[in-house]
């Protein structure tokens, strides 16, 4: 049984502003930032556990989260509509 999904496309989410050790697939540059759920990619074993030779189960929802460049980089010089999309596991996200 997979972990239940908490978010739907269009919802605003904030990425956990945490800097743990281990193998992490949430890039540094989005931690603490707020974006919008673009889509649910599916449910997958947790890579943080897979990296340590454990099974990473139950599978966890993985989302694609859309961030505005201007929300990530102070003084961003391009089009204010420019975005970056990042895959983030649910346990790194909270409602914003």
């Amino acid at each position: 049984m997979d972990v239940e999904r908490k978010f739907r496309p269009g919802e605003r989410v904030r990425v956990m502003k945490a800097y743990p050790l281990g193998h992490v697939r949430t890039p540094y540059y989005v931690r603490g930032c707020t974006g919008t759920i673009e889509r649910l990619c599916g449910a997958f074993p947790n890579p943080e556990e897979l990296a340590q030779m454990r099974d990473g189960l139950p599978a966890r929802p993985l989302y694609r989260v859309r961030f505005l460049h201007r929300d990530l980089w102070p003084g961003y010089g391009g089009d204010p509509a420019d975005v970056v999309e990042v895959e983030i596991f649910q346990h790194w996200l909270e409602a914003a």
């Binding site: 697939r25 890039p27 540059y29 890579p47 089009d79 999309e85 895959e87």
Partner: protein, 198 residues
Amino acid sequence: MTDRGSYQPLTYFQLMEVSLRELLVEKGVVTDAQVDETLEDMRRRGPERGARVVARAWTDPEFRKRLLADGTAACEELGLDVPALRLVVVESTPEVHNVIVCTLCSCYPRMLLGLPPDWYKSRNYRSRVVREPRIVLAELGLEVPGDVQIRVHDSTAEMRYMVLPLRPPGTGGWSEERLASIVTRDCMIGVAVPEVTR
């Protein structure tokens, strides 16, 4: 310096590769034949596979819809063998330009494009394209108009991305094969756009 002729000693890393592979073969973990077959598979997978998918999407609106909804299933429909690939196809339009990267390692849609070029895996590209995409694209020879939205796709986890570029004007009535011939690898990464040369 002594002339060593054509003999080149193995580097530490090449020595590691030979040693590791021979140990694994001795232990029955892999066979030489499996290694050779896998190499052959890799050699068969080049950007012309992705180009075929793009050309079909340009000529068949229903296929395009299915491709955008489920990239992997659409590739399989074309008879492409794409093991372990979870493909998301992102469509560029007159209003949106897409570009792909993996800032954490170098994830890449290799089942459709073959192995990535060195620059895709470089620190310079991985560091900068998420922060100043317009400048990086310009360095690679692509000027994106200021009113076109840029979407950078950072392949941080399970999905792999491929850009469906905008079909250029002047290609009306072209066959799928001819269309595929202008879809380069870089167009499907998003650092170039298809061009019609005469």
